[in-house]
Symmetry: C2
Subunit: 283 residues, 2 copies
């Protein structure tokens, strides 16, 4: 794909997409996260991404340099994001003909100076089991979120740190799962349904836990679109029904003092960051 050697074209949209490598002696998650964040600053550009995790030997590092140099010889110079910690491996990787962006080396000296301490130099443990108690709390939270998805169980709502409430398809489930998996938050989620709207009251099991509830709303057209994909042509998916449910849900949040927000154009990451901040949940 990138082997269309020698072709010179003008305009980023015509040239072959440079290959972006994310290299790590651990999972590669950190390199991907910062690397991709930086690449979003160049929205007109296309990239072909390759993550190579668990680089632990000089031999592997040399093989990767060989691959990078091969690409550089026949197409655009690859961009190489690295979080490799090991000095020898970094030295090898930095010799490739790609643009080498060293996310580790660029910052570690500043931290050593700030902390008046020497970096351990041990391979990244940021995404290992690490702090066993914190890790276990995340796994427990995933299990809790599964069991308390969509109002399936009210057995342990008193253990919840957060109860997400909303009409169907406003993003409760993926948000609860994200908060559990990434932050170890015991997040239940509970649907608001027709019965609740006609009673004009929150579901009874939630009443003792209103202070832990957070509501989601959406835009009627957006909800309509999502529901149509799931159950096309049904009353459930109709624009009128979506408007009705969202209007009633919002009214219910307000009258019960439940904090809420419109999640229509937000990602689970954005919804989660906002909830953590507004509910002051420690993570």
């Amino acid at each position: 794909m990138t082997n269309t050697s020698g072709l010179k074209t003008t305009g980023a949209e015509r040239s072959p997409a440079p290959v972006v490598f994310f290299l790590s002696n651990s999972t590669g998650i950190t390199a991907e996260t910062l690397g991709n964040t930086l690449l979003t600053q160049f929205p007109g550009h296309r990239f072909e991404r390759r993550t190579i995790p668990f680089i632990t030997t000089a031999e592997e590092a040399r093989r990767i340099v060989h691959t990078i140099d091969g690409l550089a010889a026949t197409g655009p110079r690859p961009i190489v994001f690295s979080t490799a910690v090991n000095r020898d491996i970094r030295a090898i990787l930095s010799q490739s003909k790609g643009h080498f962006v060293d996310l580790y080396d660029a910052h570690i000296a500043q931290l050593e100076s700030a902390l008046q301490a020497t970096a351990s130099g041990e391979a990244g443990k940021a995404h290992g089991v690490g702090d066993a108690i914190r890790y276990q709390s995340r796994m427990t939270a995933v299990e809790y979120a599964m069991e308390h998805d969509d109002g399936q169980s009210i057995r342990a709502l008193s253990r919840a740190a957060l109860i997400l409430i909303a009409p169907s398809r406003c993003g409760k489930t993926p948000t609860a799962m994200y908060l559990a998996l990434q932050h170890g938050i015991l997040a239940a989620n509970f649907p608001l349904i027709e019965e609740d709207f006609s009673r004009q009251s929150l579901p009874d099991p939630l009443l003792p836990h209103i202070h832990k509830c957070f509501g989601l709303t959406s835009l009627p057209v957006r909800l309509n679109q999502i529901r149509q994909e799931r159950r096309p042509g049904t009353t459930y998916a109709s624009l009128a029904q979506c408007s009705y449910e969202l209007r009633n849900a919002e009214e219910m949040y307000r009258s019960n003092g439940v904090p809420y927000m419109n999640s229509a154009s937000m990602s689970v990451e954005e919804i989660s960051a906002t909830i953590l901040q507004r509910m002051q949940l420690s993570h």
Copy 2:
């Protein structure tokens, strides 16, 4: 907590933990990810962490600088990881009395040069909805993983990109959820139970999909410990039963040519990165 002004102590374990700020005009996830990765290089040190996402005005930035300066006046200088993109906001934040680690500015010039293009300068969109198709595939995958958790449904196993198999409590569910949420992988998971072991055969619904199966094993003592927490004193949790199931599962993986690994000391991030690589799943 850090206001124990004036006290000079020796040894990192006695001094108040420096406050670490993760500042962002978006979710703060990138700043947290690289910041925490770098901090793991200083394992003897304690830190107090504060994430402040969605910093969008100069006034907010000034308020944060005020907080940082207050902490610096009475305790150890805070460490400030920033991914703020906006030039004015960066200029304000960089004036604080904390150690300012600019994760954006340190790398963007190198990328501008590599791509011969100018960074857009727009606030980070890395964890927004971004590429709507990719985002939707992640949400679809979460739904799929929920529906196909623990063999609950075999309705759409043919759509799966991956089927995780293992005895109970080896980490199938959180791994499937992680792969779905972070990478949009359609990951089902299916338990291996007594009946399968006595028949010495994989569950029938898996047989047409063996090429998509990946097996997990664990250490008997580790599995025993996890099961004891869940159902103390049962045969299910006994060391003998755990050994029996793990031995049989491994035998079954081998005889069916199903790739597998021991997940006993691995995090979901490490298990996932390994599976993506070994199963060559694009993400």
